[in-house]
């Protein structure tokens, strides 16, 4: 550490000794060669530096000369061949650059399109899942509770009610917490109403998600579903709006045995 400091001090002193010499050189006057020249390790450095240059210069000259001799040793046809092959190689490489750039652009475009298509497909899947009833849904809507102690309500009346709700914009419908999908059916066997094969028992609670006012308006049309229900013996129908209803998913997704989609849809 102290050796380094001493060396630094020595250099600084030398530097300050050198500076006046340079200033003298800048101003016209008698040459101050005696002060400008400093001796020490300087000359050795100069010799080493120039020796390095000489070494590099000669080795560079030697290398390029050897290369040139190599080329001169070749016959004219060989040289022409070498040149042609080098030109071909350069052309091929340039073509490859063009191809790769084109490929890059194509890949960028297609990845962007893929992203858009994927988003659209996701949206469509969501909408179709709600429609098909394969996912549970939640939202505002209304309950239509039909009390039927005498079992006067037939499956056709429930179909009418569901149809009326769908007309009024119901997006999802369930009866007694059984979701109705696109392929759901109502039937009647031995005085029992079946939804997709599961028996329903009164009171029937039809739940619809949609705009509650529109749905209610649809049900209350004069001569509509509510009037028809009230006309039946012992039946009492009641509409309740709700801000938040939860409908379950279908217990089993609809399966298609015969129908095949046409083309390659998403």
């Amino acid at each position: 550490m102290s050796a380094l400091g001493a060396e630094l001090g020595r250099l600084r002193r030398r530097w300050s000794r050198l500076r006046p010499a340079r200033r003298d050189a800048a101003t016209p006057g008698p040459p101050t060669s005696a002060r400008a020249r400093t001796f020490g390790s300087g000359p050795a450095l100069v010799v080493v530096a120039t020796a390095v240059v000489g070494f590099l210069l000669v080795s560079q000259l030697g290398t390029s000369q050897r290369f040139r001799q190599q080329l001169e040793a070749e016959s004219e046809e060989d040289l022409a061949r070498i040149l042609a092959s080098l030109t071909d190689e350069a052309d091929a490489l340039r073509d490859e650059i063009g191809d790769l750039k084109l490929q890059l652009v194509n890949l960028r475009n297609s990845s962007r399109e893929d992203g858009t298509a994927e988003r659209a497909a996701r949206e469509q899947l969501k909408a179709l899942s709600v429609l098909a009833g394969t996912v549970a849904v939640t939202g505002p809507g209304l309950n239509l509770v039909v009390d039927d102690p005498d079992r006067a309500v037939g499956y056709d009346v429930l179909i009418d009610a569901v149809q009326e709700l769908r007309d009024a914009g119901a997006e999802a419908v369930a009866i007694n917490d059984l979701r109705m999908g696109v392929a759901s059916s109502l039937a009647e066997r031995e005085d029992r109403i079946l939804l997709d094969g599961s028996p329903l028992s009164p009171p029937y609670r039809i739940t619809a998600i949609g705009q509650a006012t529109t749905l209610e308006g649809g049900l209350k049309i004069p001569g509509g579903v509510l009037d028809a229900l009230d006309a039946l013996r012992g039946v009492r129908a009641e509409v309740q709006r709700s801000a938040k209803l939860d409908l379950p998913a279908l217990s089993s997704a609809p399966a298609f045995k015969v129908a095949r989609p046409v083309g390659s849809g998403p």
């Binding site: 400008a36 100069v46 010799v47 000489g54 290398t63």
Partner: protein, 108 residues
């Protein structure tokens, strides 16, 4: 005389060893040689003007070579032909130095 002595020593060593400069480094070495040549001529000029200073000589010598190599390397990285810039700049300086030496020697 010292620079000439150094050059001679380096040249003799190179002739004896017959080193081969790798093709990739050849351009850099060439640039360094041109830069060093400029520094050497500058040294000759300053010694004729009696302002030669070995310290300044060695520093300018090294920094010239390093800057020239760095510029060429940068040019290669940026695909810009900075070799031309280095050659032009150093070439002008070499001509100026030679002209100054010539005026000193021939007095005109």
């Amino acid at each position: 005389m010292l620079p000439l002595l150094g050059l001679a020593i380096g040249a003799i060593v190179a002739v004896l060893l017959q080193p081969t400069v790798p093709q990739d480094l050849s351009r850099y070495v060439a640039m360094a040689v041109v830069a060093a040549l400029d520094a050497t001529l500058g040294g000759v000029r300053s010694s004729m003007e009696h302002t030669f200073n070995d310290r300044i000589f060695v520093i300018s010598f090294l920094s010239n070579a390093v800057v020239a190599i760095a510029l060429v390397w940068l040019g290669d990285q940026l695909s810009v032909d900075l070799v031309t810039a280095v050659v032009v700049a150093l070439g002008i300086r070499i001509f100026q130095n030679v002209a100054a030496i010539r005026r000193r020697v021939l007095g005109g």
